[in-house]
Amino acid sequence: MLAYRNISFVIFAVVIFILFLLNIRFGSVDLSWTEVINSLFFSNSESGHGEVIILQYRLPQAITSISVGIGLSLAGMLLQTTFGNPLAGPSVLGISAGSSLGVALLVLMGGITGVSMGSNSIFFGDFGIVVAAFIGALAVLLIIIFVSGRIGNAVTVLIIGIMIGYLVSAVVGTLQFFSSSEDLHSFILWGLGSFSNTNISQSLTILILTLLISLTTLFFIKPLNALLLGYRYAVSSGFNVKILQTVFILFSGLLIALGTAFTGPIAFIGLAVPHIARSYFRTSNHSVLIPAVILFGAGFSLLCNLISKLPGYDASLPINAVTSIIGAPIVIWVIIKGRRLDIG
């Protein structure tokens, strides 16, 4: 059993590496494998045409894709465990919408705040968007915590999360109505979601921060497992569950905001990947689930990004369309094939 898991982990790591290379290789401009290998592993200069494309566009895109895939998947897992709700996820609970509101407030009021969304914006601009996305995500999360503290029923919390999502989207819509067309244009582009809006230093920043938070979650395997038995059993296992729940919610808020700020809200990864990981390894034990979610998150995101580039040459599909088209059937399949989802 253990050996089977370890072999699976190794195989998935290899698959991710191959997906990573494929992501670098394919795109609107046709490049050769030689160019890919040379610019990734042997050259620091950006002399050739291909090298520029790879190092300035495709590499950051692939790194961002990996980071956001990991971040959203882990956030989804943390939310599902913390709320004891298999249908929790960044988009379902309105948290991504909260992030959008934060960014909308900042960007659509651009005239006042002086922040622009171009990929070349100054550090303060990036930083401002991350902070805005984080505050927005956290605000929604705080409402959800407040609600779920009063109402134990997971389904009710879910419905309230969805309602908050609608509410926040409506506010964003209203903001859009009153904003200048330039700001609106960049906000709508952001809202469509894309892994291609980051430069190399931004993508590496997201990666490092995501990995830092991911590694930190490995210190919480026991309390996360205890939470699977429910709030009171977790308390009886000796944990200060209130504080831990707050920590997990902060982690997920950070992970969601980190990705969302740079890529726009990305659908389905956060909800789908934990289910795929659980049903593949047939366990909810976080000592297996956390590494599995990290690997599957990176792989799933790279796969979606690759598929979005498949029309090739001029156009690429919106990433959200791809994640949903792949993600939704997977979740349905998991539910039908796997077990009943108990959400009473």
């Binding site: 395997i221 309390p223 038995l229 009171r232 308390v235 200060n240 049903s279 366990t283 909810s284």
Partner: protein, 263 residues
Amino acid sequence: MEPDKTLLELAGVDTGYNNSSTGIKVLHSDIRCKVKKGEFIALLGPNGVGKSSLIKTITGMLPSLTGNVLIKGKDIRHMSNREIASEVAVVLTDKISDTYLTAKDVVLTGRYPYGSFLGKVTKVDIDKVIEGFEVVGAKSIMNRYFYSLSDGEKQKVLLARALVQDTPLIILDEPTAFIDSPGKIQIMSLLDQLVNNHNKSVIITTHDTDMALKNVSTLWLLGFNKEFYSGSVSSMVEQGIINRVFDRDGVSFNKNSLRFENI
């Protein structure tokens, strides 16, 4: 002071809720009692009288309105969850809805108050868990998914979880509910075994009054007028306190048959 074998003491405890909008609601007031080592107690009372609230208060999940809950002489309010977890283990009525946890995973959480915060599971943990499954006679289902077990098997697994927590006191909220008659007898004799062979103190809440009267040594009774009684089974029966708490509309507790009967 006498050489004290008292594990748990309730010193003038009021149970109930202090809600900012609805105000203070006292369920039972001035509860005074002690739990000694190796004592087997049944907490009885009609539906909705506040048994679960008392259990929550004893386990530190609900603060007492007044008075002190003392575990080995220490006020529960000044104890961390981890300290409480090494003295009191619980089997609750809460449903565990996860579908990918094995019985072993569930029992392992009973070892979490010990060892490091990290995910590492030690040899001692594993040995304890296997021993726990052996004691409750459920070793064959150790690797099955918890959700797929019958209610009786689930209860045994949760009992094993409480057992591996290595606490002197185990509290079970309605351990025999939803379990068929042979299963109920199995659970009760397991608890009996824990008290007699493993020197544990056990408190259960139950609606299976006649079974409780046959097995336990001490009764705690809760009535609707905020009253609390405790004493040996025979004294509670003789003094008619069971009648005082339970009797209603033509149904009465018969002291001779130890059963509820129509009058």
